[in-house]
Amino acid sequence: MKERQIKSIAVTAVMVLAAIIVLVPFFWMIMTSFMKTGESFAYPPVFWPKKFTLEQYTILFKRLHFLRDFVNSFAVSSLMTICSLFLNSLAGFAFAKYAFKGRRFLFTSFLATMVIPAQVGMLPVFLILRQMGMLNTYWGLILPGAVSAFSIFFFRQYMMTIPTDLIDSARIDGCSDFRIYWQIILPLARPALVTLGIFTFLGTWNDFMWPLIVLNRDTMYTLPVALANLMGEHAPDTELMMAGSVVTILPIMILFLALQKSYVSGLVAGSLKE
């Protein structure tokens, strides 16, 4: 029994040490973001500010328009999540519960698109958006990515478990199909909505390549694009860049910690279904 306890402490200690090593960059980022300009330029590296200051954050929000970038990121991610959940759950519902001609063909076609990487279509999508005047708009960021074969598949699998009789009896009561979807199916599919909602929000918030291509007007920048741009001009200002990273990462970390359970269960479900 004693030996087991010692073993347990030793293994736990190793894991805690590993976790500390993994998390050190985050700790350093947060601490450096509260330093005065130039304070981090020292050897050995500084892990604690002499005096906590909001200097960097003031520069970011007052001079460098990070609030605007934050609002852009938040708006794009929220709109994308709403659109994506609506469109994909509606399609998933049709595939799960309706018999119709071309059902198999359409569903297989959706799944087949997952084999082709998004970068392949990027050049023409850029041209199409340019033609439609949607470069530098939220919609230019949202519409090309709103439909996801993975989400449709996920919703379909989930909705297949909802008994069809439930829908049937609602129809007998004279409920329209859209109302059935809206008032019966969606509330029942809540776990799937939450999981895919977090996936979509996180994915959109963190996305870089597509916003980099679609946005070239700084008033429309999302946080990752703004940060990458800032890196071009302010790379020597370590403290400022660290503060910019904190502003970008923090909201998404809070969201993740709050909804960790649904996120991880979705992650795992995606892998087991393969």
Binding site: S8, V11, T12, M15, V16, A18, A19, L23, V24, F26, W28, M29, F41, Y43, V46, N88, L90, A91, A94, Y98, A99, F100, R103, L106, V115, I116, P117, V120, G121, L123, P124, F126, I128, P144, A146, V147, T164, D168, R171, I172, G174, S176, D177, W205, F208, M209, P224, V225, L227, M231, T238, M241, S245, T248, I249, I252, F256, L257, V268, S271
Partner: protein
Amino acid sequence: MAKKTHKEVMQDRNGLLSQSSVPYIFVAPSVVLLTVFFVIPVITAFLMSFTDFDIYSLANLHFARFTGLQNYTNLFSDPVFWKAMFNTFYFLVIGAPLTIFAALTAAVMLNSKLVRFKSILRAGFFAPVVATLVAVSVVWKYVYDPHFGLLNYALSFFGVSSHDWLSNPLWAMPAIIVFAVWKNFGYTMMIFLAGLQTIPETLYEAAEIDGAGPMQRFWRITVPMLAPTTLFVTVVTLIGYLQLFAEPYIMTDGGPVDSTLSIVLLMYRQGFRYWQMGYAASLAFVLAAVIFVLTMIEMKIQGETRTA
């Protein structure tokens, strides 16, 4: 909305609802968006890869001419393309096994009954996965800084002299690989953890009674039982790593001397900086072909293990 009689709302044999137009209306928005923003663009990109579509064509489509296989022959005779191809595979061949190995180690240890604070540790290892790639790339650029970076400081305890990691053509790619392992292993770890939970405890108990040591149990039970999971994470990791982009974009801009230039970064440059869109499209299709081949190999292996 008119009331429906019972006859109209019957289910078919598979428990599916029969309705003439409703399902089409429900899938229509998705089909339209996917057609406009995926199917048509992919076909267009394919056609584009056989043209000299460039900045003049951007002004007026009629300037684009069909040039046959010109882009592809140019590509295959361009040393920069081969450099990018080499770099991408260097990243992949070293980075993917390291990521999977780190993930498996962490998962097996976290699964052990001996470890405490499991949920906190798991969240800690997973944090880099959730963090915005661009932001952590910025942070790691400073981790690698030759003057005040954390890496040089940590290595100094082991007697390793200071390096300017990202400015050295020899070390820039290994630095990006280490960063990528840090960023991604938590995801794979989560999948492995789920896989480990499906292995019945009785297998280990039986093996223990038969006198199998911990190493034997790991190699004879854990590894074979995790084979399908491993195959899945391998494919996901390979496909993800083939699309290496933001890390070199932020940390090195593909340099020094193209030592971290990846296929997607080259495509981005050719397509959206130099507007050589025909050329960039051919690059995109080379990438797609590689991913397609990898996926096919995966499906074949999966099929074989299933019949075996």
